[in-house]
């Protein structure tokens, strides 16, 4: 895969839910980013106000729901299907009757990984995510942050290059937020082809970790019946010089863009 090649292509996706048009003509592409001399994955922020249809779009990209019209294709050029793309849901669902290690092993078994290989991979991931000491714990014994890390690790047992995350920054204190953002960057950069699509309404967090932002919203949110949401604007943060830096939040350009996006948010 070369720089600029499409990893995910969302073409003219629309979906209705009863009388409500949720999505209407959503079109965007996630492209491979190549930085010579480094292993750089992609982090794409899919921003939008609450209730605009972000999770609906995530389910379609994940292959869990079919769009009424349009299609979503993966790196192979074929439509995505459930199991091809990793998803970390908002509440980090885990199998409550399995231990942390058991949850990871199930992910290996579900993907046809041999038991030994799955165990090795699971232990590697637990170690990498600082969860070795929690391997024998049940989900009920974990904190929210630990559950999130287990949920991400579970998706990585069988290497999937695309990971969708639904509101990963929701309800976090500043320290946890920083940890989650670092974790996302680490996971993305584990492999050149790794691509994380973060669905969120947290503008600053999305801007901090992403290399590309897409803003999902309706043309007129007060219209009755509401029109479906589509991509209103895309931001190439790499081209703007607002990616791959740790001092972004001090950059006046970053702050100005944040204000611009916040203002645009009010109208969606």
């Amino acid at each position: 895969m070369a720089d600029g090649d499409k990893i995910i292509d969302v073409e003219d996706v629309s979906q209705r839910l009863g009388e409500n048009q949720i999505l209407k003509g959503v079109t965007f592409a996630v492209r491979d980013r190549v930085r010579p001399g480094t292993v750089t994955g992609q982090i794409v922020g899919l921003l939008g106000p609450s209730g605009v249809g972000k999770t609906r779009l995530l389910r379609i990209i994940a292959g869990l729901d079919a769009p009424d019209t349009g299609k979503v294709t993966g790196p192979s050029g074929k439509p995505t299907f459930a199991g091809e793309v990793g998803v970390v849901f908002q509440n980090y669902p885990l199998l409550k009757h399995r231990t942390v290690l058991g949850n990871l092993l199930i992910a290996g078994a579900a993907n046809g990984l041999a038991a030994d290989a799955a165990k090795k991979k699971a232990n590697d991931l637990l170690s990498r995510f600082g969860l070795d000491a929690r391997a024998s714990y049940y989900p009920a014994q974990l904190s929210g942050g630990q559950r999130q890390r287990v949920a991400i690790a579970q998706q990585l047992v069988r290497q999937k290059t695309i990971l969708l995350m639904d509101e990963p920054f929701s309800g976090l204190d500043p320290e946890s937020l920083g940890n989650v953002m670092s974790l996302l960057v680490d996971v993305a950069n584990m492999d050149e082809l790794n691509t994380i699509i973060v669905v969120t309404h947290d503008i600053r967090a999305a801007m901090t970790v992403s290399d590309t932002l897409f803003m999902l919203g309706r043309d007129d949110p007060k219209a009755k019946p509401p029109a479906g949401a589509k991509i209103q604007k895309a931001y190439d943060l790499v081209a703007e010089g607002l990616a791959y830096r740790s001092d972004l939040e001090q950059d006046p350009k970053f702050l100005a863009l944040e204000q611009e996006i916040r203002a645009a948010f009010q109208k969606l």
Partner: protein, 261 residues
């Protein structure tokens, strides 16, 4: 401080205080019973002596074994039937069948004795069928609801992991609800145990604790009747406790989930 906590609203007490409070109420009940002026209520000593008589002279031990065999037999059938029906609710085509079985709980057992006698030939088989029917209708009602209420997210979570529908059924529906199934089974065991005297009374030839109490009722041996009631209550509590232990062994996470709540 701990005693004050036991007397004030919305306070937690430690285990020692809980035992002390329970002991106090038990002692009070025993005193009230001992000094009760009601002629129809035999005293504690009378009941104690009657228990000895029942055990040594009326073969209460073997009767209890007969009853336990019956309840375990019926419980086995109930679990097999109810779990199968409940898990079938994930298939739309079977939902009307499951709903119909659930509605049969309004029938009651009395009117079913005749058709079930004709089907089974009566005796032990009839009792097993009656108990199984009684427990299954309630078990299916509760368990089917548990299956229906599994969040869609749980299924989707397994799907995005790449699991087959068979594995999803096993992990999410069967194993994922096992703790709740055990709790429901525990409740249904209590329902079955409460029905036991009525069911054993239908055909007394095979004996059992239900037949024993009805025979003592007939002769107005009140002390013996109360003694049997105590035994029924005690054994019911032992069975309930045993089910709780089995649940904790099979589903250790269920204890953690409760602690979290």
């Amino acid at each position: 401080m701990s005693l004050a906590n036991a007397l004030l609203p919305n306070r937690a007490v430690d285990r020692g205080m809980l035992v002390a409070v329970a002991g106090f109420w038990a002692a009070l009940a025993l005193v009230i019973w001992a000094v009760s002026p009601f002629q129809s209520l035999p005293g504690p000593l009378e009941v104690y002596r009657a228990l000895g008589t029942l055990w040594w002279e009326h073969g209460m031990g073997p009767e209890l074994l007969t009853t336990l065999k019956l309840i375990v037999h019926a419980l086995g059938f109930t679990v097999a039937l109810s779990m199968l029906l409940s898990y079938l609710t994930v298939i739309a085509a079977f939902r009307p069948v499951v709903a119909a079985v659930s509605k049969l709980r309004f029938l009651g057992l009395t009117g079913l004795v005749v058709p079930f006698t004709m089907m089974t030939g009566g005796g032990y088989s009839l009792k097993v069928v009656l108990l199984t029917f009684g427990m299954t209708t309630f078990f299916v009602t509760a368990m089917a609801q548990v299956v229906v209420e599994i969040p869609r997210e749980q299924f989707d979570h397994m799907r995005v992991l790449g699991a087959s529908e068979g594995r999803i059924l096993w992990e999410v529906v069967v194993l994922g609800t096992l703790d709740k199934a055990m709790d429901i089974l525990r409740q249904n065991l209590a329902i079955g145990w409460a029905m036991i005297t009525m069911v054993e009374g239908i055909s007394r030839a095979e004996g059992g604790i239900g037949a024993l109490i009805l025979n003592q009722n007939k002769h107005f041996h009140l002390a013996e009747v109360y003694a049997i009631l105590f035994v029924i209550l005690f054994l019911g509590l032992v069975l309930d406790y045993a089910m709780g232990v089995v649940t904790r062994v099979l589903c250790p996470h269920s204890v953690l989930e409760r602690m979290k709540r």
